[in-house]
Amino acid sequence: MSEPVLEIRRLSVDYGLGDSAVRAVRDVDLTLHRGEVLGLAGESGSGKSTLAYGLTRLLPPPGVISGGEVVYHPVDGPPVDVLTLSPTQLRAFRWAETSIVFQGAMNSLNPVHKVSTQLMDVIRAHQPGLGRPARLARARELLRLVGISADRLDSYPHQLSGGMRQRVMIGMALALEPQVVIMDEPTTALDVVMQRQILSQLAELRERLGFAVLFITHDLSLLVEFSDRIAIMYGGRIVEQAPAAQLYGAALHPYTDGLLHSFPALRGPRRELTGIPGAPPDLRAMPDGCAFHPRCPRAFAPCDSRLPRLGPPADAPDRAVACWLHPAPEAATR
């Protein structure tokens, strides 16, 4: 595996302060390696978007980072902790090193400005020395990169289709050639045909430009196909992490297994599926022990009182799971 580019260590995010705080993300450890696509899957309320906002320091109040660190490794130079950057440093860091494509990115373009203006704005903010012709050339190049003809430069967002707007957003995210691109449900609002077009294009761009992607979605079947590694979040914690093929082949955590069996298959035999009984947990009243135990078909003695730690199970050192069925060697001794 290549070297890490972004390391999240014991990151916790709360909404609110004091006793009434809702702990949306708890002690998350996650490492993104250079050039890989890391899929982060979870249901609504699992904390996956909060994690993305937390690590980019984009959390709106009352969101507070209550602990942990986010270490970014630049191509050259010493690692930096994103959470301790000063506002000026942060401003230079954002977009140049990590960029983000938001949920419903189709609507994050400004409707009253041309696409060219919006693309050039990014470049002007970070490279003030560049003249207008150079910026325009770069904007044209970015559009070509995402497969839109350059004569669309003078279009307003409403003149573009949903898929094209999404591509413009991806082009904009790549404007400064960042090392890390965070994508929060980038294709949820799109049709499957368009979704596949955009994702194949993204895979191609990644191959060419070598950035790493943190891909956040609720659609696990999509991740299995498009990402290298997958992390599953439930109730604010990562419950399982594994290479995509291994996770799909043999899920260790019962929640992952349930999720994988929540998607009807398009091919192969038709099976009776059940989904997962119950509903996702309320973050204000999290169950004790493992957050999944009230819905878990295989819950047993320790599950409702002791929290399983995320660690490699004895027989598979390159993956990690937080479940008493597969206790990590060191967790078992705790």
């Binding site: 194949s200 609720h218 299995v224 009807p264 509903a279």
Partner: protein, 364 residues
């Protein structure tokens, strides 16, 4: 309430049928348009023919903007239609509000996509369900009758014990529970037909199947005819007996769900199935199909393409496709499998392996 299917004909009988269903939404005229004779309109639904059978689920699959929700609203008679007939048990019905609409709604109920929006946040579950029962005359005479009816409804959607849910407000329920309440409300009318417009697409992945399985159970218990509208063709395969595929306002293929998903005939259905996420096709961009790249977008429905509406994107389009609208043609691999595509016309298939349509000269 006790006899859920009054005057029930045999299972599998036709309940609701639409023939030539068409809806054009007028577009506001611009100044320039004032001088022209032609009125512009969005051709949202054109010439849709479908039949819902008792005890069967029919899926209507299409991308957003293909007109599938409009079909549901037309069948529920929420919109007046531009042309076509809707027949309930063989009798054409047209209702515009008032008592006739209520009588119709008693038999044909609609479930909406978003349970966060379809329930009134200031009212309790009890209020929502009581209203449905009262409006459709199923509340009984006494308070005890009403209470029993409420409990029965909640039991049907598997929300038990009823006390826990009756006085809850929508915000106290999870998405899945809310959608169950919306289903219970529809059942309060004791309908024969449920029109479910993307009933699970707003729900969390892990609870979608629970709701679909509930709908299937209700279908079997009460012999309901269900129209399941979805953009997810895999769930249509899982849940529906019959699948219809819609593209740009027209039906392009239909038949038994298994046949349509395993042996798709229309190039659009093939594209749709090829694009669906498939965990078994691991890594990268997979096999890039011919039609996948380039300008792959649905057409404008204000000026839809002549002939087959898919021809501008179709990888196997022939000259004829741009000129003539393909009729429903039998595919021939399975009973009732049809498609609106010239590839399956006897002129083409009769010519054997020849790629070009040779018409009447084939037998020369």
């Amino acid at each position: 309430m006790t006899t859920p299917t009054p005057s029930a004909p045999a299972a599998g009988a036709e309940v609701l049928e639409a023939i030539g269903l068409t809806k054009h939404f007028p577009v506001r005229r611009r100044l320039r348009g004032l001088f022209s004779r032609t009125r512009t309109a969005v051709h949202a639904v054109d010439d849709v023919r479908l039949t819902l059978h008792r005890g069967r689920v029919t899926a209507l699959v299409g991308e957003s903007g293909s007109g599938k929700s409009t079909v549901a609203r037309l069948l529920a008679q929420l919109y007046p239609r531009t042309a076509g007939t809707i027949a309930l048990h063989g009798e054409p019905v047209t209702v515009r509000g008032g008592r006739p609409f209520r009588a119709y709604a008693r038999r044909v109920q609609l479930i909406f996509q978003d349970p966060f929006a379809s329930l009134n946040p200031v009212h309790t579950v009890r209020y929502h369900l009581t209203r449905a029962l009262r409006v459709h005359g199923n509340a009984g005479r006494t308070d005890a009758d009403l209470d029993a009816a409420l409990r029965r409804l909640l039991e049907r959607v598997r929300l038990t014990p009823a006390e826990r849910y009756l006085d809850a407000f929508p915000h106290e329920l999870s998405g899945g529970q809310r959608q169950r309440i919306a289903i219970a409300r529809a059942l309060g009318a004791d309908p024969e037909v449920l029109l479910a417009d993307e009933p699970v697409s707003m729900l969390d992945v892990s609870i979608r199947l629970g709701v679909l399985n509930l709908l299937r159970e209700l279908k079997e218990r009460f012999d309901l005819a269900i129209l399941y509208i979805t953009h997810d063709i895999a769930s249509a395969r899982y849940f529906a007996d019959e699948t219809l595929v819609m593209y740009a306002g027209r039906l392009v293929e239909g038949g038994d769900s298994e046949t349509v998903t395993q042996r798709p005939a229309h190039p659009y259905t093939r594209l749709l199935i090829g694009s669906a996420p498939d965990p078994d096709r691991i890594t990268g961009d997979g096999g890039t199909d011919v039609a996948e790249r380039g300008d792959g977008e649905p057409p404008s429905l204000i000026r839809p393409p002549a002939g087959c509406r898919f021809h501008p994107r179709c990888p196997v389009a022939m000259p004829r496709c741009a000129e003539e609208l393909p009729p429903r043609l039998t595919v021939g691999d399975h009973d009732g499998h049809w498609t609106a595509c010239w590839l399956y016309h006897p002129d083409v298939t009769g010519a054997g392996a020849a790629a070009a349509p040779v018409g009447g000269e084939a037998g020369r």
